[in-house]
């Protein structure tokens, strides 16, 4: 077989002519690497693009009918989240405040501010302000705020530093891998609702889920529960809270029908 191939090869070689320059060999070899890099690069770029703010709008402030500033109302005025988002503890939907909630204060202060004209207009006519959603889940995803609040997921775990947002933006991508990041390890971000009260720190008096300055326990800053138990790591605290809050098993909360009902 081998000998015959060689003979055929010699016979064929006598017919050969050059069409391409010698450099074509190098180009051909380089094109193999280039093709791998190009295809790999395109796939990588596609996956990155799909996770980027260009697609998810994470971190992109959206324009609103009134440039409402969480920075001012939360950090400045000191409003609790639940002052406006009243149903967050009891309902799937956290609640968007009616214009009346705004007018509780704004019928008294800044009554002539041009910026607030749409609010007054809405109050007068009874037509709601149309806010632009910043965190929007697809319709095929079932999400309930109350279970997350009651088990001890802090507002800013998902919504980010809302108290630092002059204009509101979505903090997270809200993609499924982001949801599963926590559902596969539910202890990761759990907080206790109540901690041992410390007269020097007024935040310790509040429900920690709504505490925008809450920090996960470390050796320097342990989290101390009202009964005196002290935790120096989130691993230990998370495991404890998963147990006492009866957080359902990872198998349960990662099953398809938990979120896709």
């Amino acid at each position: 077989m081998w000998g015959c191939m060689r003979a055929v090869g010699q016979w064929m070689a006598s017919y050969m002519a050059q069409i391409f320059h010698r450099s074509a060999n190098t180009i051909a070899k380089a094109s193999i690497i280039a093709a791998i890099l190009l295809i790999g690069g395109l796939l990588w770029a596609g996956l990155e693009l799909q996770r980027s703010p260009y697609y998810t709008y994470a971190g992109v402030a959206r324009s609103q009918p009134v440039p409402f500033s969480h920075l001012h109302h939360v950090s400045g005025v000191g409003l609790d989240c639940r002052y406006c988002h009243t149903s967050v503890e009891t309902s799937g939907f956290a609640g968007i405040p009616p214009t009346k909630t705004c007018m509780n204060c704004h019928s008294q202060i800044w009554t002539n501010a041009p910026m607030l004209a749409p609010v007054r207009e809405s109050y007068r006519t009874g037509k709601s302000l149309i806010w632009t959603r910043v965190d929007n889940l697809p319709d095929f995803v079932y999400f309930d705020h109350s279970i997350h609040i009651n088990k001890g997921i802090g507002c800013n775990t998902c919504h980010g530093p809302v108290d630092k947002m002059p204009l509101t933006y979505a903090y997270a991508s809200m993609q499924m891998e982001w949801c599963l990041n926590c559902h596969r390890d539910p202890g990761k971000y759990l907080r206790p609702h109540r901690v041992k009260e410390d007269p020097k720190d007024p935040h310790t008096m509040d429900d920690q889920v709504f505490n925008m300055t809450y920090q996960q326990p470390t050796a320097e800053h342990p989290v101390v529960l009202p009964d005196g138990q002290s935790f120096t790591s989130q691993d230990a605290l998370g495991a404890y809270l998963v147990k006492v809050k009866h957080v359902r098993s990872v198998r349960d909360i990662t099953s398809c029908s938990t979120c896709h009902r």
Partner: protein
Amino acid sequence: METSPESNATPVLERLLPDQPAVLGPGHTMGTVTDKITAIVLRRPMTLGWLGGFVIAFTMLNMLVLAVGYLFFKGVGIWGINIPVGWGFAIINFVWWVGIGHAGTLISAILLLLKQNWRNSINRFAEAMTLFAVACAGMFPLIHTGRPWLAYWLFPYPSSMGVWPQFRSPLVWDVFAVSTYATISALFWFIGLIPDLATFRDQAKNPWTKRIYGLLSMGWRGSARHWKRYESAYLLLAGLATPLVLSVHTVVSFDFAIAIVPGWHTTIFPPYFVAGAIYSGFAMVLVLAIPIRKFYGVEDMITLRHLDNSAKVMLATGLIVAYGYSMEAFFAYYSGNFWERFMFLNRATGPMSWAYVLLILFNILIPQLLWFRKVRMSPPMLFMVSVVVLVGMWLERFVIVVVSLTRDFLPSSWGTYTATRWDYMTFLGTLGLFFTAMLLFVRVMPSITIFEMRTMLPESKVQEEVAAHD
């Protein structure tokens, strides 16, 4: 090296039985083999026959584009599928086409490893057949998903959904089986073509034709080093392709066998699917080979010997398929299982018994003609038997997919199935795609492997003996 006395006389490549046709007609030299095969592509003008065939096939291909376009626009509701028959023509056609591909791989890989030299004349177009059949087959799982633009979800990639496909599902195994099969088939086909593409490059007169074949032949010079590497690559690919002949259709059969529907849930499916695949594949090889050898005058290269051998493979695999059918009937009786028995009776006597009766006729009874040498030696008869087998194998998948689904455990969930015009258009459309691709292939690529044909010549044998003396 000790040589046999006859080596210096007329070299004998094969010992023929009386009346047995040769693998290669007499009177060929390296030059005539090359000329004859390259002439088909490079020097033969476009004939009316080819053009007519191409117009018909291309029209059917456009019908496919229309049918699939409308499908994307409207959704799978335009097909006849509905619960309980959620798998209609799409899956029948998928299994049918994948099966047809198997003969090409068997011829090019397994027969190569078994040193069946006669395969050299038919392997190239059989490989092309495999490639185009897999292309037709691969379309169906994609378009039947309802949202085909999301078909890439079938592949495991780091998606933002944070989940992988369900690896315990045979449908995912299918994705791997078919995509591996398509990749290996394409590589095998292309690597096998390289030396011949170089011959085309050297024979072409038109500078652009020369360049295109030059580009495709990837700098092939026919040096000893090239040949050595080529041989290893080709053997390696043959080794890779060999298990695929068995594994791909086995996995396809798992799509059914893993489910619990009576008529699907059976252990005999893998071997009987593989045999059926090779059965229908050789039928398609004959359907292609008989016109090619006739219209391109290569009856001395694709000889009656090839037709005879292919017919024998068909006969053997057909008998395995018949064994599969009879075992299904036997299990229905012997298992004493109510559902199995009902399934069989429903197939044979139920509302769609016409399909089962035709299936037995086309797949088992008519192919028994292949026992007769006269039939195996008659191209028109063989052509007709092959077409009958192709129809029969399509009906087999119809019986498995549709008849099983219309009658499952609960009479309240029974239903029926009628294909719509879009189903037929899609199926005929893939035939258009297949034949368009085959017709183009015959016009631009060597349908018969030139250099492997040369190795079958007495000339090459002499050279080898002389080289051995040196």
